[in-house]
């Protein structure tokens, strides 16, 4: 991950007039902000079919037929998917990869942001590309793309057997597998979905369907012995290495590890399971009764439920606290440690814990205006646009990145003063 301690944590504000760019270009698309808040960028149109990327008011030198999917990596490098003369490539901080492809999409970054991968199509064959290097093997189709946390490996669901039009027997017999760094597993499946690398990148697990009815998890190509009527995306336990996935049994959901159910309780739904950073707790978004949603920790659902949706489950860094976005009666709020915040919003972004887990913050939206809420207290300032807050490593300051009155502001605020 990016070294947050090296960012500028001095209390103060840096301003960049964003709306002023509009005078320099035919149009300016929606902005993106670097994790450290130092740069704001947008795809800009110069003229008919002439696009570039503008960063802090200065456009990249390159001009492209098209540019899209502007994304900052975790360490702040800025990538875009760009097209020149009908061919596509990736531009990183203004430099395009020398290689050209029929199409590229779905940019992925390693955890430290140093490595960039995309899915690519060349001559109607598919492969992943890592830092400009394409897999040697190409496939007839490719979905569900993944990069290992260390960025050394890429993977995808790949079609390894041809199938004729409406050849349902051949499809059901299995035409899909997983390729890691271009090498397909020996095993084939009817379907493969949602891949997950182990933290060290040495193993890969995926949802698979064998035939029309038997769902299970395959790890490095080997399916669990036990099948279920459905499964959802697996995760690796960061300490034990066990593979953990929601599984459906007799019409209800629970969680299994390495093929065996580990939660005795059954739910209407279980998904987005996550192991705490210390490996001590397993939490998931669950529906304990039809139409109601909450979190469950180690198989025990919280008492507080909402009636529409729960998403964005987040552990505090020490693993002791949990929060998630929750929607009840059409309005969003935060569900924190089995209690709902008192305020309701039109929209809410994923919760952010301070490094010590003491505070939890979230960007909220009400009637088109954005604000920051910390521990259920809304800060007075509102914005036209607002990005995720970042706490300083010692938790005493918070970086706020927002646009107001057409000007982007990078603000470092003292947490104590905010809450005073």
């Amino acid at each position: 991950m990016a070294d947050v301690s090296r960012w500028d944590w001095e209390i103060g504000t840096k301003a960049i007039p964003f709306d002023a760019w509009k005078a320099d270009f035919a149009w300016v698309e929606e902005p993106y902000v670097s994790p450290d808040g130092e740069r704001i960028a947008a795809v800009v149109n110069l003229d008919d079919a002439q696009f570039s990327v503008c960063v802090n008011g200065r456009a990249w030198e390159g001009v492209f037929d098209k540019a899209w999917y502007l994304r900052f990596s975790h360490d702040g490098r800025l990538s875009a998917l760009v097209s020149e003369d009908g061919e596509w490539t990736v531009a990183v901080d203004g430099e395009t990869w020398p290689e050209r492809y029929g199409y590229v999409w779905n940019t992925l970054f390693s955890a430290d942001g140093a490595r960039v991968a995309v899915a690519a199509q060349q001559d109607m064959a598919y492969a992943m590309v890592l830092d400009g290097v394409m897999w040697e093997n190409r496939f007839a189709n490719m979905t569900h793309f993944a990069i290992s946390p260390d960025g050394r490996h890429t993977a995808a669901t790949v079609q390894v057997k041809e199938t004729g039009e409406a050849d349902i027997a051949r499809f059901q017999a299995g035409c899909y597998s997983v390729a890691v760094d271009g090498d397909a597993w020996d095993s084939v499946f009817t379907n493969v979905w949602n891949l997950a690398f182990s933290p060290d990148g040495a193993h890969l697990a995926a949802e698979v369907r064998q035939g029309l009815y038997d769902y299970t998890i395959a790890v490095d190509g080997r399916p669990w012995e036990r099948c279920f009527s459905s499964v959802w995306q697996p995760v690796f336990h960061p300490v034990s290495g066990a593979v953990i996935a929601p599984v459906r049994l007799e019409g209800q959901w629970t969680v299994a590890a390495d093929g065996a159910p580990i939660w005795p309780r059954r739910f209407v739904q279980v998904w987005h399971q996550q192991v705490s950073p210390d490996g001590q707790r397993l939490a998931a978004i669950v529906s304990p009764r039809y139409g109601y949603w909450t979190l469950a920790v180690d198989g025990v659902p919280w008492r507080t439920t909402v009636n529409e949706m729960v998403m964005d489950l987040r552990f505090s860094p020490d693993g002791r606290r949990l929060a998630a976005a929750a929607k009840h009666d059409g309005r969003w709020t935060l569900l924190v440690d089995d209690r709902l915040w008192s305020q309701r919003f039109d929209q809410i972004r994923p919760p952010v814990f301070s490094p010590d887990g003491r505070l939890v913050a979230a960007v909220v939206e009400t009637e088109g205006r954005f604000g920051l809420v910390v521990d259920d207290r809304r800060l007075p300032q509102s914005y036209e646009a607002l990005w995720q807050p970042v706490f300083s490593p010692d938790g005493t300051r918070v970086l706020v990145r927002g646009i107001e009155k057409g000007t982007y502001r990078r603000q470092v605020l003292a947490v104590d003063q905010l809450l005073a």
């Binding site: 149009w27 999917y69 999409w105 189709n141 979905t143 027997a169 499809f171 009817t190 029309l212 459905s230």
Partner: protein, 445 residues
């Protein structure tokens, strides 16, 4: 019921049904039927089965029954009698041939249109009972070939037309480029987090009907809508797995659709002019996952266009001159109650609206819905013959002046095109989007 006419059934061979039938045993059939009836179907099934008094009042509701000169075999209650009741009566012990015929009935002689539910004195939802049988057919591997292939497409690439992951954003960018010939600043914003609206469509649009995306983009642009489309899977709101009884794949693709919208932090989803997808997103698919109501609000294009016109965000430059009639799609009208809104829209856009009868919630199905058209070429003629009453209904509207048929549903469009052609009706079939695009005020290029 009137006296039945005599008709002879034509033998149609479907590779999907036959593939499943091969090697099937009565033991396996019995196990699957009992598993579904006892394990997956609860009070709803029991109430329906116990309540029906076999009165046959549902018969007159069914376009198959009416189109086959009131042949009682096509009566909705007869379809239950020939399938589910017999399965229950025999405790699941039915033959392979019985299942072969059951698969044909539930997939090619019922559109799940629910017109019969309105004619039943008790409101029994026979479409649900047909869906239970389709689930059994799925678990026996006897689903007709072409709709099974569509369900495979949903499972493999998360859309119903085998659109590959790069083809989707590439098509959107192509349409954006095309539309810039008309409006130079137009955008189809991809992956724009925080947009007000995620616009979702069904697989045939990027595959065969990309001009519909073009038109939608022009409408969005002129109306000044803050919108986006995902560049990832989850863009397709359609769901043939719902109609094959593959509930697990149905749930998978519905989850992907809603979680894509949630990831993009949109306030709501606007879906294109599709009927069956509406049923899947607001009723069947979401509920299988445990979402009692859609977790992100979703509205059909009829509601959206109505909203844009009412709010003055799009204005009619000159009304559509040719007389139109309106086909009420089952899922958005009987299922969604949008018939009044559709008429408001038609009258706002067109100079002359000729009603067809019966209309609104009593309208006849197009005979394509419920996955029937997706059963493909082997069943096409049967489908067309099974909806002669629709041809009569359309011909009547034509005699009274209608020249254009508005059908705000993709399956209806395809089914009505077949009816239109086979019965030589000579109607021009359009979506609301086609008409709006044609009559709306647009900036000069």
């Amino acid at each position: 019921m009137a006296q039945p006419a005599k008709s002879e059934a034509k033998q149609i061979v479907d590779n999907g049904i036959e593939k499943g039938a091969a090697g099937l045993t009565e033991d396996r059939i019995q196990a699957v039927i009992n598993r579904v009836i006892k394990g997956e179907s609860g009070a709803r099934l029991k109430v329906y089965v116990d309540t029906c008094v076999h009165c046959g009042l549902c018969s007159e509701a069914c376009h198959y029954y009416l189109s086959h000169d009131k042949d009682p075999r096509y009566s909705p209650v007869a379809k239950v009698k020939q399938t589910l009741w017999e399965m229950i009566r025999r405790k699941g012990r039915v033959s392979v041939d019985f299942m072969r015929r059951a698969a044909e009935i539930v997939h090619t002689e019922c559109n799940l249109c629910k017109r019969c539910a309105m004619y039943c004195p008790f409101g029994i939802d026979i479409a649900y009972l047909m869906m239970v049988v389709r689930r059994i057919v799925h678990l026996l591997g006897m689903t007709p070939q072409y709709i099974q292939d569509t369900a495979h497409s949903h499972a493999a690439v998360s859309n119903q037309m085998w659109v590959k992951p790069d083809e989707w954003p590439d098509t959107l960018q192509w349409q954006e480029e095309e539309a810039r010939g008309e409006i130079p600043t137009l955008r189809i914003p991809l992956e724009k987090e925080g947009a007000d609206i995620m616009y979702s469509v069904i697989g045939p649009e990027p595959k065969f009907q990309a001009q519909l995306i073009y038109q939608a983009a022009v409408i969005m642009d002129v109306a000044g809508v803050n919108w986006t489309m995902p560049a990832t899977a989850g863009w397709d709101n359609s769901d043939m797995a719902m109609f094959t009884g593959d509930n697990e794949v149905m749930g998978r693709i519905k989850r992907e659709h809603y979680e894509t919208a949630a990831r993009l932090r949109v306030r709501r989803i606007v879906m294109g002019e599709c009927g069956h997808a509406f049923r899947s997103v607001y009723d069947v698919g979401n509920r299988w996952l445990g979402w009692r109501i859609p977790p992100i609000p979703i509205i059909h294009a009829i509601e959206f266009y109505h909203e844009l016109l009412t709010a003055g965000k799009i204005r009619v430059a000159k009304k559509f001159k040719t007389p139109v009639t309106i086909h009420d799609p089952c899922n958005v009208v009987r299922g969604g109650g949008l018939h009044r809104m559709a008429r408001d829209l038609a009258h706002a856009l067109c100079e002359e609206v000729v009603e067809m009868y019966p209309n609104c919630e009593h309208n006849y199905c197009c005979c394509a819905g419920g996955g029937v058209i997706n059963c493909g070429p082997p069943w096409k003629n049967k489908r067309i013959e099974g909806n002669r009453v629709k041809a009569d209904q359309l011909a009547d509207a034509k005699i009274r002046g209608a020249k254009v048929l508005i059908a705000p549903c993709h399956n209806c469009h395809s089914g009505l095109e077949d009816i239109n052609h086979a019965y030589e009706l000579g109607l021009d079939i359009k979506f609301f989007g086609d008409i709006i695009y044609e009559v709306m005020e647009k900036p000069e290029a």
